[in-house]
């Protein structure tokens, strides 16, 4: 068994080189498919991470209190809110604390805030909600309190973002299915050429009583080789593009969106697994399809 596997591997590699032209064509088309996939995958992963971060940022409800609301009233509200199931934690933030936090956020430019004559910020209650859906109930509750100036929460925004992400994912999936189908067809045709040129040999093998898998083996490996090589090439290119892109626009994105890009290391591992799995399955299915005609009987 061991010997025959090695033998089959050698045969597969040999075929690949004999068919250089067509093998290259297949490799190109799979690589192209994977590049598109890779770019979208990186995009989606980043989008997902950004979404998660956004959700975390936005699953808080901020309640601004009127000047007239005293500390005791606020403490009662906090207690009431903390009693709710939907609330993870509600806490009172005095205007002084808020200003300090603001200064910290502004970092080096924080000194600008020094010039303020009086603190423009209101006292507030910050409520962490367990789920986005729970936010509605919390808001309803807060509306029953008196002494509220304003309620700020982002349920609509986050929901919109989620639905956009979903559409992008679905669109990518549809495109992927199409691209994978195209690659399978190209690989199928490549291997068909080899199969046809060895039709006589296959026929003899069948007459002598070779099992279908024995006959299929070398062709299957040829397909798998094509897929594997494509996966490695595509992986290299996508990682390179991604790290270049990160160097180029990573800083800007962090500045604008406030969320860093997913590091190459994390992305690369997943990308490698996806590409290798995809390459192998495209190559293998291509070769199995191309041999169907010969292995009917």
């Amino acid at each position: 068994m061991g010997i025959s596997i090695i033998c089959a591997f050698r045969e597969g590699a040999k075929q690949l080189f004999r068919n250089k032209g067509m093998s290259l064509a297949s490799i190109f088309s799979i690589v192209a498919m994977m590049l598109i996939l890779g770019v979208f995958f990186s995009f989606i992963v980043n989008l997902d991470v950004a979404m998660e971060a956004a959700k975390q940022d936005y699953d808080t409800v901020q309640v601004f209190l009127l000047e007239t609301t005293d500390k005791e009233a606020a403490a009662r509200m906090v207690k009431d809110l903390n009693d709710m199931d939907e609330v993870i934690k509600a806490r009172y933030i005095s205007k002084e604390e808020a200003l300090i936090a603001w200064k910290v956020q502004w970092g080096e430019s924080g000194y600008l805030l020094e010039s303020l004559e009086e603190n423009p910020l209101p006292n507030a209650i910050e409520i962490d909600v367990a789920t986005l859906e729970g936010a509605d109930a919390v808001v309803q509750k807060v509306k029953t309190f008196s002494g509220i100036e304003d309620i700020l929460y982002y349920k609509d925004t986050v929901e919109k973002l989620i639905s956009i992400t979903k559409s992008v994912k679905i669109a990518t999936l549809v495109m992927m299915i199409f691209l994978i189908a195209v690659s399978v067809v190209v690989v199928t045709n490549t291997i068909k050429l080899t199969v046809n040129s060895r039709g006589k040999e296959i026929e003899i093998m069948k007459y002598v009583g070779a099992t279908n898998w024995f006959i299929r083996g070398p062709f299957l490996l040829e397909g798998i080789f094509i897929g594997l090589i494509s996966a490695l090439i595509a992986f290299g290119i996508v990682s390179l593009i991604y790290s270049k892109a990160m160097g180029l626009v990573g800083a800007e994105i962090l500045l604008i969106v406030g969320i860093p890009m997913v590091p190459v290391k994390y992305l690369a591992f997943n990308l490698a697994i996806i590409f290798i799995a995809l390459g192998i399955s495209v190559g293998a299915s291509g070769s199995i399809i191309s041999m169907r005609k010969y292995l009917d009987t």
């Binding site: 006589k200 003899i204 069948k206 007459y207 002598v208 009583g209 070779a210 099992t211 009987t297």
Partner: protein, 242 residues
């Protein structure tokens, strides 16, 4: 024992075989004769399960051919060696390699291959041609390689489909002697042929098929009138392998 029991096979509009019953004992030497399109190839293809019978039962030893799953077909074919009119050798392999190829397929070890191939080449009368490529061999020698390949895995039955069709009479007799030698070792030989002289001189059992029916089954001569149309099978001429 090979047995056909009321076997019928139709092609779209044509009759392949119709209600054919015949049995061939192990160790027999049988000629299958008849005009082109009579049903001889259908007979062979049904035995190899290259075609499926429409009705009837085909038995090969204790296997019922019709009931074999696709996975079992290779096992059936390992029990049957086959030789074609056009040799069908692989042009890029030597005689030795062509024969060894059949053994590799059934996963024989290298040692067995090294031991057995020369024996078989010796049996078919070309012990010294192992390292020659098909194009370096005469037509008769090529057919001997094909015969060696067919029997190297010790099948119980050897089917020879017009094995002498591309050979001149002397060479053809050489092949017949090889087939006879193989038959004497206990292998059943079924030979499909048009060669009247050979059939007449061999004096073996003759099964004559015409229009999908067995019209005669006895020992002796070809007995098939030449006045009836006798067109050589397709590719009978000038197809000396690659």
């Amino acid at each position: 024992m090979i047995e056909f029991e009321n076997v019928t096979k139709y092609y779209k509009e044509q009759v392949g075989l119709e209600n054919v019953s015949v049995s061939i004992k192990m160790g027999d030497f049988v000629f299958l004769v008849g005009p082109s399109g009579a049903g001889k190839s259908t007979f062979v293809k049904l035995m190899l399960k290259e075609l499926e019978a429409d009705s009837g039962v085909i038995r090969f030893g204790d296997m019922e051919v019709g009931n074999l799953s696709n996975r079992e077909i290779p096992l059936l074919r390992r029990g049957i060696g086959i030789v074609f009119q056009d040799f069908r050798l692989l042009p890029k392999k030597t005689a030795f390699e062509n024969v060894a190829f059949a053994m590799e397929i059934v996963r024989s070890t290298k040692r067995t291959i090294k031991r057995q191939v020369p024996q078989v080449l010796d049996l078919v009368g070309i012990p010294d041609k192992g390292d020659k490529y098909p194009h370096e061999l005469s037509a008769g020698e090529q057919q001997r390689v094909a015969v060696a390949r067919a029997i190297v895995n010790n099948p119980t039955v050897l089917i020879a489909d017009e094995p002498t069709g591309n050979l001149d009479p002397d060479t053809a007799w050489g092949i017949m002697r090889v087939l006879e030698r193989i038959n004497n070792r206990g292998t059943t030989v079924i030979m499909v042929t048009h060669a009247k002289e050979i059939v007449d001189r061999m004096n073996k059992r003759v099964i004559a098929i015409e229009n999908g029916h067995i019209i005669r089954d006895d020992v002796g001569s070809y007995g098939y009138k030449e006045s009836q149309k006798c067109v050589p099978e397709e590719g009978a001429f000038g197809n000396y392998g690659d």
